[in-house]
Structures are given as structure tokens and as C-alpha cells.
């Protein structure tokens, strides 16, 4: 550890100072002085990237949510004709893929990007330009995937796209090609981001922050990145094989020509089950941050929380075939996967009970964030318990591919992931944007979404056990499914109403803040972890001074100690503990055009594979240009330090340079350089933010 702790975060080598920063003389390198909307395209700031991840995922949440509403409209009544069978099959496929790959995963990435560096006391991630590349790669992959709607129709084989139904013979539109290529592109984003965050967490923690002093959210996200690292290559291989089968006539999954459709199933679920934990573990982390704060108690059993998360990560790779109990595996495989699935419930149960124990004896304050966190605890429990009933393999042959499963995973992913993320929004909003979301509207949001959610997915347990299969575009009146389907549809629109309330909350709270700015302070919730020590919104450099960590919840213990009976006593005022805005002369990585250029080439390669290889050539050229430009560009602009004074100043904020004279220094040796305080308004509002 000594090596790591001795290192100053972000002491980035500046490279050869003499090299021009625009290798082709075409693009002048963007500088940190750029603000406004343009700066977002070249930003390598983990906070801006986190915000962009969040905004993009919310956009795709609207897309996926609209698809969900269409599904519910079609199923509201028996023999309905809102959607044709062909369109319905596309809509439910796109809904699933969108929600999993374009909403929940990137939302987790949004929280991870924004929070992890601040939670561990770093000024950015380990590879800032790669981080920007991850985001653009995700965004372009997501847009590429959704353009299939306008180019012949979406994928129509279910998010799992079982072979051979996913073959060209059975799905002649390009939908599944877009699925294969689009997910390969977004997979690159996740894989790159996983490596980036792992290196960040392992190497860039503040001095004194040993692994077991990291916040639980950081821990859970770290475990998640390892899951991504090992699971994504599997799905990428599977998607390549699928793409080869479809585009180039290979026969990996074609039984008629000696391939094996079961191969796809195994590859898909070896990725697919860890994927479930990829989507839920970060949310467990969020809840583990929120509940202690509003209970005014430390997380109960920190080591158990961490180790159960790690255990879930390991065991998550050994349960995949429980998705295949009806697929015709031998009884020995069924036995093995049935048992491993049962025991993965144990670490999950530990987490639930530890959250309850955290609340025990606390002083519970029911803020909106706390309500959403408790929402995860209660709703995820239902999903977890129905999960145990699937682990009983023989019973699962009655349940699998019915609405009972649909109910189960929505209780896990909506009642778990999404509720926790909404809680995370309410919790960290003031840190990110510098103003609070309205608590009263927030509570309406919570209760209405809770009711709507249970109305939608609760009845699906009943529908499934009464024999309604998944992925049915319609059902008949005489099958007895009509009543609960209508209830579910009403519930879905209740959820839509609650999300409109959320949108209104953002709008109203923001307008109120613009009219009448109220200083929220660094620590509005009296919280525990390190992100609350920095000003709100987080300045561009995060920490004016990297804190020395001595214990878990270090920030909390700067404010509080205990008396002899173990009760909390305040030892310092929050204002005296938190960092003040307006630090100057801190080195930060320079913005760059190349991440977005490199990422922009990939969708063209995708179009090329699907339509005409000429597009692939174009995409390849863009990507290669991106690589070359990237490689030739020093990670910190050597020019940036030299002309701080005579650089044309930003209109209203005065000098805004970031880097030092020599371009190679540490964090504290360059106060001669004017501050970047102007650019520190984390919301990107422009340089007039926080001038000291």
C-alpha cells in the first residue's frame, strides 16, 4: 500500500513538452478554459461524464418506458390490437435490451463515475480520456441500436435472442444485427470503463484509505467492475458468433448444419446471470450509503456487507444454468445449478438483515432518499424470495418463461435497482447540482411509484402461476388472464405519472434555485462519506486538498465522536471540517477531442457490417484517426501551462487555466498559475459560478 499512498493522485506525466498539441494542425486542442455546451464534448472530467451518463440513461429510460407502456396497452385486454404480433415482438425485445443495457447499466456507471473518485479522495479517474471514450462509445452504441427502428425494425427475438430463432432464416429484418453490433459497441464502453474504475479504486485512493476503509458503494462498484471484466468478454464472443452466423453464413448455432443452439444459451447466460448482479450490486451500495446517514448509525457489519458482496460476485458466475432448467440439461447439471442458486440467496439475505440492523436503534429520518432506499429493501426482498422458489428446479419448470419470472425480475430490477437509483438521485442531487430536489414532491413521487410498481408487477406473480407465458402478444378471454392484466396496465400508467412528477420536481426545484439560490453547503444531509467534504456542487478539482484518511466514514468522525456509552457526540462544526471552494492551481487532465472521434467511428463500422462495407471503411478510418490522434496527444496539454496569462480570457470570469508552468508538477506547487475556479461550477453553468 505504501507505494499507492505515497503517490499524489493525478500526478500525470505531461509527456514531451515540445510536441504540438494538434498533431495534424487541424484541430487545436480544446483547453480547460472552454465552457458552455461545447466543453461537454471534449470534457474528460469524471463528473461531467457521470452527469452525461445519467442524462443519456434517463433519455433511454423514457424510450424503454414508452415501450413498456405500449406492451401494457396491448395486454390490457384479451385479443387486443394496439400492436401487431410483429411489432409487439420488437417492442418487448427493445424494451428489455434498452432497460438493461441502455438504462440500468449506464445509470450505475453514472453514479460510479461521479462518486467513486470523490469517495476515495481522488481528483479524477485513472484514465480520464478513456473514461470519456467509454461514455461516447455507450451513447453512440445506444443510438446506433435504436436507429434500427428506422432501418427496417427493431430486434424481435427477445433480449436473450435464442438461436436459431435469432438466425436470418427466422428473423429477416436487420433488428438482430443491430442488437449484435450495438451490444458489442456498448460492451466496449462497459469493459473499458470497468478497467478504468478498477485501476482508479486500486491505485488512486487518498492516503490512509485502505481497502477496508472504502465506502460500501465504492466496494460494491468495484466488485461490479470485476463482474463486468469477466462477463462481458463472454457475451462479446457470443455476439460475434451471432453476427457471423447472420451476416457471413457461419453455422455456430445452426443445428441443421452441425451447430448447437444450446451453445448460445450457455454463452448468453454465463454473461447473463452475472449481469443481474452487475445491475443490482451498485444499488446495494447506494442503499448502504443512504440508510446509515438517515439512521445516524454506521452500517451494521461493514465486513459482512463487503464480503457478502464479494461472495455474490463469485457465486454469480456459478448459477447461470438456472435460466435453463427446462432446456434439457441432464439431471446432474440441474441439481448442481439448483443448489448453487439456493445458496446465492444467503449473502443477499445477509445484506437485507444488516440493513434492518442498521436501522435498529437509529434515529430514522424519512427523507425521500431514505424512503427509496427502504423501498429497495422491501421490494427486493420480494424479488429475492420469489428467486428462491425458482431455485427449486422442478418447480421452476412450472414457473420459467411465465409472468411469474417477469414479476420476479422486475421486483429485483425495478423494485431493487431503479428505486435505489431514484433514491440516489434525491440523495446526491445537491452534491451534483448544488440545489435540493423538493422533498414534498419527492415523497409524492415515492409513494405513487411504489403503488404503481406493486400494481404493475404484483399481479404478474398471479398471472404467471395461473399459466400466462411471457412474450405473448395476446391472450384469449377464456384463459382467465384479463383481470390482472388490466390491473397491471393501470399500474404501469401510475408509474408513468410518478415519473412525470419526478420530471416536474427537477424542473420546479431547478427553477426555484435559479430564482432564489439557496446555499446547500457541502454536507446537507449530515452524511458520512468523503464526497460530502467537498463543496456542492463539486468543484472541478474535487479536493482542494487531498484528505488524510484514518478510518471508515472518516468525514463523519471529523464531525462526531462517541461518549462512554457509545452515543454520538459532536466534536466539530461541519463548517469547520468541510473544504472551501475556490482552490487554485490544481493540475487536471486536459480535455481532448479524440475520445469522441474514436467512438464515433464504431457505429459506422456497424452500419458497414449490416448494409455496405464501404461504411465500415469510413468508420474504420475515423477510428484509426482517433487512435493516432489519441496516441500522439499527451494526456496533459503541455501548452496549457505556458500561456495562462495571455490566453484570451473567458468572457466574464477572468483567467481560468488549469495546468502548471512546467506541465509535470504535483498538486501543490503551482499557485502562481491563476485559478480554474471559474470553471468549477460542476453543473456546467459556466464560468461565473464560484469565483473566489
Amino acid at each position: 500500500m505504501a507505494l499507492i499512498e505515497a503517490r499524489t493522485p493525478l500526478a500525470v506525466e505531461a509527456g514531451d513538452g515540445g510536441r504540438p498539441s494538434s498533431p495534424f494542425g487541424v484541430l487545436a486542442r480544446p483547453t480547460a478554459s472552454q465552457t458552455g455546451w461545447k466543453s461537454w464534448f471534449t470534457s474528460v472530467d469524471h463528473k461531467k461524464i457521470g452527469i452525461m451518463y445519467g442524462m443519456a440513461s434517463l433519455f433511454f429510460f423514457i424510450v424503454g418506458g414508452s415501450e413498456a407502456l405500449l406492451i401494457r396497452l396491448q395486454l390490457a385486454r384479451p385479443d387486443n390490437h394496439v400492436l401487431s404480433a410483429a411489432l409487439y415482438n420488437q417492442v418487448f425485445t427493445m424494451h428489455g435490451v434498452t432497460m438493461i443495457f441502455l438504462v440500468v447499466m449506464p445509470l450505475a456507471a453514472a453514479f460510479a463515475n461521479y462518486l467513486i473518485p470523490i469517495q476515495i479522495g481522488a481528483r479524477d479517474v485513472a484514465f480520464p480520456r478513456l473514461n470519456a471514450f467509454s461514455f461516447w462509445c455507450y451513447l453512440f452504441g445506444a443510438i446506433f441500436f435504436n436507429t434500427s427502428w428506422f432501418l427496417g425494425g427493431g430486434a424481435d427475438g427477445g433480449w436473450f435472442n435464442y438461436a436459431p430463432n435469432s438466425g436470418v432464416l427466422f428473423s429477416r429484418t436487420h433488428g438482430i444485427d443491430f442488437y449484435a453490433v450495438g451490444l458489442i459497441i456498448t460492451g466496449i464502453a462497459s469493459l473499458v470503463s470497468a478497467i478504468n474504475l478498477i485501476v482508479t479504486v486500486l491505485n488512486m485512493r487518498a492516503p490512509g484509505m485502505t481497502l477496508f476503509k472504502m465506502p460500501v458503494f465504492t466496494w460494491m462498484t468495484l466488485v461490479t467492475q470485476f463482474l463486468l471484466l469477466f462477463a462481458l468478454p463472454v457475451i462479446t464472443v457470443a455476439l460475434f458468433l451471432l453476427m457471423f452466423d447472420r451476416r457471413f453464413g457461419s453455422n455456430f448455432f445452426n443445428a441443421a448444419n452441425g451447430g448447437d443452439p444450446m451453445l448460445w444459451q450457455h454463452l448468453f447466460w454465463i454473461f447473463g446471470h452475472p449481469e443481474v448482479y452487475i445491475m443490482i450490486l451498485p444499488m446495494f451500495g447506494i442503499v448502504s450509503e443512504i440508510i446509515p446517514v438517515f439512521s445516524r448509525k454506521p452500517i451494521f457489519g461493514y465486513p459482512f456487507m463487503v464480503f457478502s458482496g464479494i461472495a455474490i460476485g463469485f457465486m454469480g458466475f456459478g448459477v447461470w444454468a438456472h435460466h435453463m432448467f427446462a432446456s434439457g440439461m441432464g439431471p446432474m447439471s440441474v441439481t448442481a445449478f439448483s443448489l448453487s442458486t439456493m445458496f446465492i440467496a444467503v449473502p443477499t439475505g445477509v445484506k437485507i438483515l444488516n440493513w434492518l440492523a442498521t436501522m435498529w436503534g437509529g434515529r430514522l429520518k424519512f427523507t425521500t432518499a431514505m424512503l427509496f432506499a427502504i423501498g429497495l429493501v422491501t421490494m427486493f426482498t420480494i424479488g429475492g424470495l420469489s428467486g428462491v422458489t425458482h431455485a427449486v428446479a422442478s418447480a421452476d419448470t412450472q414457473q420459467t418463461d411465465t409472468y411469474y419470472i417477469v414479476a420476479h425480475f422486475h421486483y429485483v430490477l425495478f423494485g431493487g435497482s431503479l428505486l435505489a437509483m431514484l433514491g440516489g438521485f434525491y440523495f446526491w442531487w445537491p452534491k451534483v447540482f448544488g440545489y435540493m430536489l423538493d422533498e414534498t414532491i419527492g415523497k409524492w413521487h415515492f409513494w405513487i411509484i411504489l403503488i404503481g410498481f406493486n400494481l404493475t408487477f404484483g399481479p404478474m406473480h398471479i398471472l404467471g402461476l395461473q399459466g400466462m407465458s411471457r412474450r405473448y402478444f395476446t391472450y384469449s378471454a377464456n384463459q382467465g388472464f384479463a383481470f390482472w392484466n388490466m390491473v397491471a396496465t393501470i399500474g404501469a400508467f401510475t408509474i408513468a405519472v410518478s415519473m412525470l412528477i419526478f420530471a416536474a420536481n427537477i424542473w420546479i426545484s431547478r427553477a426555484r434555485h435559479k430564482r432564489n439560490p439557496v446555499e446547500v453547503g457541502a454536507d446537507p444531509w449530515d452524511a458520512r462519506s468523503l464526497e460530502w467534504i467537498v463543496p456542492s456542487p463539486t468543484p472541478e478539482y474535487n479536493f482542494a486538498e487531498i484528505p488524510q484518511i484514518t478510518e471508515l466514514d472518516d468525514f463523519w468522525y471529523r464531525k462526531y465522536g462517541h461518549d462512554e456509552s457509545g452515543r454520538l457526540v459532536r466534536i466539530a462544526k461541519t463548517e469547520d471540517v468541510v473544504q472551501q471552494p475556490g482552490a487554485t492551481g490544481i493540475h487536471l487532465p486536459s480535455p481532448s477531442y479524440w475520445p469522441i472521434v474514436l467512438a464515433a467511428g464504431l457505429p459506422f463500422v456497424g452500419y458497414g457490417i449490416i448494409f455496405s462495407l464501404w461504411w465500415a471503411l469510413l468508420g474504420g478510418l475515423i477510428t484509426v484517426a482517433g487512435f493516432v490522434g489519441w496516441v500522439l496527444e499527451p494526456s496533459t496539454d503541455p501548452e496549457a501551462g505556458h500561456d495562462g496569462h495571455d490566453h484570451e480570457p473567458a468572457p466574464s470570469a477572468g483567467p481560468t487555466e488549469a495546468a502548471s508552468e512546467d506541465g509535470a508538477g504535483g498538486a501543490d506547487d503551482a499557485d502562481s498559475v491563476p485559478a480554474l475556479a471559474g470553471a468549477a461550477a460542476g453543473s456546467g453553468a459556466g464560468p461565473e459560478g464560484e469565483q473566489a
Binding site: P261, N354, L356, G361, I374, Q398, G566
Partner: protein, 403 residues
């Protein structure tokens, strides 16, 4: 001690308990109501066969344990939220919570106890897996071959065990009641899943593989089933049913099914004017429908048959005449009218009064795509043949004779 505030608190507690009890009663009543199959033909909670019963006996206690865990956690959250809520008069810094960081023994307990409980469930689960496997592996049992294709089910009976099917039927599988029946499940195109919820769980039909499975019905009756692995466009409309008959009736049924189709003969082959509707319908059938649909014993392509069904009806034909059907198979119509429904067990063959439902059948022949989504232009599903109204009514008249 009985201050107004504690009395109010007790009242709240009493009300809460009463409300919980009421909810519990409703849930119990609801669960009971869910168990009958009136209007719910696919109910998994209403076992009517040995395997389904076995599964139900296994899962019911698990549901109950899950219910207890549910009440424990949800009740626990409500209790904690009520008991440890921040009160109006609470002040920061005064009487703050005791800072407990954990309790290793307690946490070990709630790690180990659930693990033991799950291990207990695991023992019964594993036992059932192997028990249900036994019948499926018993080759001495009567075997029905189940073949899935987009979007209907075919059932083949090889009564003399010579490796060639003696009866090929579609949509409705007939079995003897009370007797264990082994199934060999296959697929002709994509993955399907065979499922009769009241008799047993599901088993996938995977191309290139044969999966063994078994069903048994305690009593004679009709048991509805459906495809439950997504198989493309009309996945929702790929239904089937199992008809369990008393042994003697089953034997009779088998005997009837083994007979070739009774086909009309033409006394005046040179004169088409005097043909009866049935005969005219038969001729149209031969010219159009027989390209894909088999009638046992019908001379086709100039080849007489021995009356036994041909398992490779399409493939054994000369390439020039072979329709390019993706699944390579269409329903055998030899004893069409012995079944209840057609087209993936969707549409009634008979009207309520017992007469042939000519409306359904003629609409289907007129435009099958309007009744059930299919991809006939991609050789998946029945195409629109473009017959005129007379031809259609003739074909319906002929089909009605296929008892």
C-alpha cells in the same frame, strides 16, 4: 401509566395488528381461490397429474417459508420505521443513537441459519429432480413423440414400436388416463417448449436434440397446454391440449386413428360437372392442400401408400414438387374432425350445437394470415391459396368428412 399518548399508541398498535390480520386473511383466501381452475385452464396451482402434484407438494411449503420470511422482513421494516422514527422533539446532539458497528455472532447466525434452511429445501428439491427424471427415462412406457414447429404441435404414436409412426396427429394429444406416458420432444425449426401446466412442468423442444419427458393424468379430461419458449411471430398462439381417456376408449381411439382416411371416389372421372361438393373439395385438396398436408392412404404424386402416415411426407417427395416449407412439416389432417380445434389449437372445429364450424374453417382457408399472424411469404405458416368461394365451401365439405 395510561397517559393519553400511550393509549393512542396502543390504539394504533391494535389497529395495525387488526389490519395485518385482515390482510393475512385476504391473502390466504386469495391463495385458496387461485387454486381452482375455473376459467383458468393453465393454472399451475391446480395439479391434476402425478408430476404436477409432486411439484406442487414440493413448492407449497417453500411458498409458505417464503411467506414467513416476507412477513418477517416487511413487518420488521414497518416496525423499525415506526419504533425508531425521528420524533418531533428529537434534537441533534441530544440522546443520539448508540453507535453499533456490528455483532459478529448475530451476523454469523443469520448467515448460517438461512443456509441450513436452504440446504433443507435443497434436499427435497434434489430428490424431486431425480424422481421426476425416472419416468422420463423409462423406455418401457408408452411413448408419444412430440414435434414442435412454428406455430403448432405434432404428436406421433409408434404403437408397434417398429420405429415408424402409426398415427400422426396435431394439436390434440390423446393419452390413457391414469397411465404414465413418456414423451420424446423434438423441434423442426426453432426452440419451443412443451407445457401442460396441470400435468407437468415444461420441457424445451430444441432442434437437433431429443428430450425425454413424461406426463400422467389422474383422471380422464382435457388439459390445456401451450408453447412457452419464445418461438417467433405467433408464439402466443401455439397451443395444444391433452385429452385423457379411460383405457378402453383410448384403445378404441388408437384403432380409429390407425385407419387411413376415408376418401371419396369419382364414378365418372372424365366429367367434373356432376361431382358432389365433397368430391370437388377432395380434388381441390389434392391439387392444393396435399402439397403440404398429408392424408394417410391418399394417392399423391402417383404413389399409392399402405395407409400408414409418412413421417417425412414433404422430404420424400421429388424436389420439383417439394414445397419450401421451413419446418418441413404441416399438420396431418387424416382424422382432422376427431380433434376439437385447429391451427395451433386455436379455433373450434365444431360450433356449440355440435355442427361443423364451417365459418371458422372457411375463414381460415380464405385468409389464414388474418386469423393468426404467420410469415407465409417466408414459408412459415399457411399461405393464402386464392381459392374462390365455391372451392372453399367444397374443401370445407370435404374436410368435414375426415372423422
Amino acid at each position: 401509566m395510561s397517559t393519553p399518548s400511550t393509549r393512542r399508541r396502543h390504539a394504533i398498535l391494535r389497529n395495525a395488528v387488526a389490519a395485518l390480520a385482515l390482510v393475512a386473511i385476504f391473502v390466504a383466501a386469495g391463495c385458496g381461490a387461485l387454486r381452482d381452475d375455473k376459467g383458468r385452464p393453465l393454472n399451475t396451482l391446480h395439479p391434476r397429474g402425478e408430476q404436477a402434484q409432486e411439484i406442487d407438494d414440493l413448492i407449497t411449503p417453500v411458498f409458505m417459508i417464503a411467506g414467513v420470511a416476507f412477513l418477517f422482513v416487511e413487518g420488521g421494516v414497518l416496525f423499525l420505521a415506526w419504533k425508531f422514527r425521528r420524533r418531533r422533539d428529537d434534537e441533534d446532539g441530544v440522546d443520539e443513537p448508540v453507535q453499533t458497528h456490528g455483532h459478529v455472532r448475530l451476523e454469523l447466525a443469520w448467515t448460517i441459519l438461512p443456509a441450513l434452511l436452504l440446504a433443507g429445501i435443497g434436499v427435497f428439491s434434489v430428490k424431486t429432480i431425480w424422481k421426476l427424471q425416472k419416468a422420463a427415462a423409462d423406455r418401457s412406457l408408452m411413448t408419444v413423440q412430440v414435434v414442435g414447429q412454428q406455430w403448432w404441435w405434432e404428436f406421433r404414436y409408434d404403437t408397434d414400436r417398429d420405429g415408424k409412426p402409426d398415427v400422426i396427429t396435431a394439436n390434440q394429444m390423446v393419452i390413457p388416463a391414469g397411465q404414465m406416458v413418456r414423451l420424446e420432444i423434438r423441434s423442426n425449426d426453432v426452440i419451443h417448449s412443451f407445457w401442460i401446466p396441470e400435468l407437468n412442468g415444461k420441457k424445451d423442444a430444441v432442434p437437433g436434440r431429443t428430450h425425454s419427458w413424461s406426463i400422467q393424468a389422474f383422471k380422464p379430461g382435457l388439459y390445456q397446454g401451450t408453447c412457452t419458449e419464445f418461438c417467433g411471430l405467433s408464439h402466443a398462439l401455439m397451443r395444444m391440449e391433452v385429452k385423457a381417456l379411460p383405457r378402453a376408449e383410448f384403445d378404441q381411439w388408437l384403432q380409429d386413428q390407425r385407419k387411413p382416411a376415408t376418401l371419396p371416389t369419382d364414378p365418372t372421372p372424365d366429367d367434373a360437372e356432376d361431382d358432389s361438393p365433397v368430391l370437388a373439395g377432395f380434388k381441390t385438396f389434392q391439387a392444393q392442400c396435399a402439397t403440404c398436408h398429408q392424408l394417410d392412404g391418399m394417392t399423391f404424386d402417383g404413389k399409392a401408400t399402405d395407409g400408414a402416415p409418412n413421417a417425412d411426407y414433404l422430404h420424400n417427395r421429388p424436389a420439383a414438387n417439394r414445397p419450401n416449407l421451413t419446418s418441413g412439416n404441416a399438420p396431418n389432417l387424416t382424422h382432422l374432425m376427431s380433434r376439437n380445434r385447429f391451427a395451433g389449437n386455436l379455433f373450434d372445429l365444431y360450433a356449440k350445437d355440435g355442427s361443423v364450424n364451417t365459418v371458422n374453417i372457411s375463414s381460415w382457408i380464405r385468409n389464414p394470415g388474418a386469423m393468426k399472424p404467420a410469415a407465409a411469404d417466408e414459408y412459415r405458416g399457411m399461405p393464402t391459396l386464392g381459392l374462390d368461394e365455391t372451392q372453399i365451401s367444397d374443401v370445407v365439405a370435404f374436410l368435414s368428412t375426415l372423422k
